[in-house]
Symmetry: C2
Subunit: 487 residues, 2 copies
Amino acid sequence: MPASFSAQFIIFGLHINKIKNLNQKNMAELTPEHAKSYIEANKDRFLNELFELLRIPSVSADSKFKGDVRQAADYVKAALLKAGADLAEVCETEGHPVVYGEKMIDPSLPTVLVYGHYDVQPADPYELWDSPPFEPVVKDGKIYARGACDDKGQMYMHIKAFETMSKNGGAPYNLKFMIEGEEEIGSENLAVFVEQNKEKLNADLILISDTSIISTEHPSITVGLRGLSYVEIEVTGPNRDLHSGVYGGAVANPINTLCEMIASLKDENNHITIPGFYDKVEELSTAQRDAINKAPFDLSEYKRELGIKDIEGEAGYSTLERTGIRPTLDVNGIWGGYIGEGAKTVLPSKAYAKISMRLVPHQINDEITELFTKHFESIAPDSVTVKVTPHHGGDGVVVPTDSIGYKAAEKAFEDAWGKTPIPTRDGGSIPIVSMFQEVLGLDSILMGFGLDDDAIHSPNEKYGVFNFLKGIETIVRFHQRFAEMKK
Amino acid sequence: MPASFSAQFIIFGLHINKIKNLNQKNMAELTPEHAKSYIEANKDRFLNELFELLRIPSVSADSKFKGDVRQAADYVKAALLKAGADLAEVCETEGHPVVYGEKMIDPSLPTVLVYGHYDVQPADPYELWDSPPFEPVVKDGKIYARGACDDKGQMYMHIKAFETMSKNGGAPYNLKFMIEGEEEIGSENLAVFVEQNKEKLNADLILISDTSIISTEHPSITVGLRGLSYVEIEVTGPNRDLHSGVYGGAVANPINTLCEMIASLKDENNHITIPGFYDKVEELSTAQRDAINKAPFDLSEYKRELGIKDIEGEAGYSTLERTGIRPTLDVNGIWGGYIGEGAKTVLPSKAYAKISMRLVPHQINDEITELFTKHFESIAPDSVTVKVTPHHGGDGVVVPTDSIGYKAAEKAFEDAWGKTPIPTRDGGSIPIVSMFQEVLGLDSILMGFGLDDDAIHSPNEKYGVFNFLKGIETIVRFHQRFAEMKK
């Protein structure tokens, strides 16, 4: 709604008049139309820059890409400086570095800290990609590449929104950027960095684009994220691989045992059986559940798009509830025995699994990891030994919808999309959001522009060119709206 | 018992007098002492020849070793000719070749067909070997190498027993050799070869060394082998890998589902739940079970040697029964999702397993494979699709202990080891034994010399030098005893 915005904008301009003449003048010039035409005029360059970043295989999980991860950090630093930052630095950590950048207009003005990540998920299995994961291409208006959506594409929108403001009179307040390289492996070193740089990271709000909208027809803002507990399991039977003909039937097979143990983690209603697992799970009111179930959702389209005959989940809950407000348990990987071509009659010594649990608000990652470990050890028969190793994790998050930040984001969507965004609870996890709350005392606004079928973490990850450009526009509007509402 | 043997041998010598003077004369010269000293005098060469064969990584399951498998076939052909065969040939099949060789003394004399295999199991995981699998070494009197026992070492004993006879007057009757290259992958092309060469393979008996003795203190002859049904499972959930945060809890995870399906294949008593699975299983009498349980077995030593706190198996049966007379079901391999370093929150599209069932006599491989497939498909929830692909298999075998072949083997052990061998039922499977019975109408004598802890199919496979040399001696005695008893 550009008209009402303009009116409010003038008021804003008058206020900052006292502070900085140049800004006032230039900001007044950056009308929504002006921002839009700047983005339109520069879109090919914006995309080409993103493609350069997408070509760097910055897979944080796999140490063989260590140099590439570093190269991506350097690229982000340079991009921040080019976009108008006064300062940008690649900050060392025990693992991959954090890129920090800032544009300080005036310390007395509000400050927004943008968070994103430049690392990506592993791209394997490579053979399932229609085009190589690190050679971005645009097909049917979508950018195909690992990281196109998660999170290089979404993170880069912020740098280009910053540029759009910088080149057109400057941002309306102070901007800080913290772009990390370990989001896909648990952000452990980011937590240390944040702890050590509380002063530097001081801000009014954190802005993050690493989530999805319902559809381009139904923009939405994420107001809930699930937490995550991720463990790796090792089950050991005999001290060496055995011949299944000689020992089979008399010695526990760790694969069979692991399967039995995994199967026992859910009952016939797909309820998780770990004692205490649901103790802190928030039970929503009928009204709250009704609101969730009002979001547009077409089950037969969902099944068709996934190629499945039927869905499956916890009894008593809808699909939107199962992915939004209920905790889950998934095996993300399993391996053991002979997995090559042909047949081998081995009774293996060891079997392994990677298991993650999505947690809802109030469930604490560390507590759940401990409950899992205790339970898993307790159900192991004497014929095997089990080892549970925690990977990264994080707690769930609920974003209040009555904050200025949320209202500004809502307005920004209304301005750019002509529609009021629907508040949604996402199934995914951004573990650092609860950490930011805890360590910095800051709320985050989760203003993502991906789509659920963008295949993040899958082969053929994509991100719409429309979403990328519209996202930049929306982010510019957010900063203008937030500046205005903070007066 | 050389004394009583000598007496019988003279009678034998008189019998064949009518047939072939030369053979009679020379065989009469090959006393047990003479054979023993020939083996002793040539043992270093015998071992060096075996080592050459062990150095060839003839892994039949993995196509990247195809050339090596061929090289092993050529080696066996050359070794047969050198040992005294009139004819030796590498016979093409649709897969790896069969080596056939023969020494025809006189068509009217008995003929024994020796079966063995020159292919080996995959050697991975390589990192668990104390010395490289294809660089044989002798440590503490054991030959360490993939195939040392299964079956290169045991097969090569027959070639060296043949040489021992050839160089000392000749074998007492016709000998044929059929050494295949696909035993570890199901002998499918051998079945075709046998079907197409019934005439050529005509014999009185098949002699095989691909089994174990209880211990060097307790020689034994295998009189029962379990059959094998081996299937590969593919479980498909969604049509692509998904983000477990976005879809987890609402879409079936094929790994969880596979685990649940595998877990359901056994009940709390470790009884297999496939309908009809036990229908044809022979129930042994108390006397028969008592006989089995009289075999020397030390449970605490068994557990200590395997490094396990407890054993696990079908309720109501002893360890010897579980591995000898009861059918089993083992997962030999499982894989799916992300199995690399670190964590990936993927809900995979597919999960896989290799499952084998050991069958007891009267259970038919094809029937069991069909029962498994039908059952597995029937328990699959609508949220996934499953595909069951049969690998190789074979039926169980019972060897009659009142045949001339068995009696000759028993005598040969008595001659060479000074002890009457114990008839045992082995847990393993040699699927071709029932095929030989069916297609050629021939019984097999399973005169193996391995030990259960030889780690066949495992890292650090070994074979005793003692077993190798004593085996050659015993095989020579078998041929002499069988010739004598067939008079």
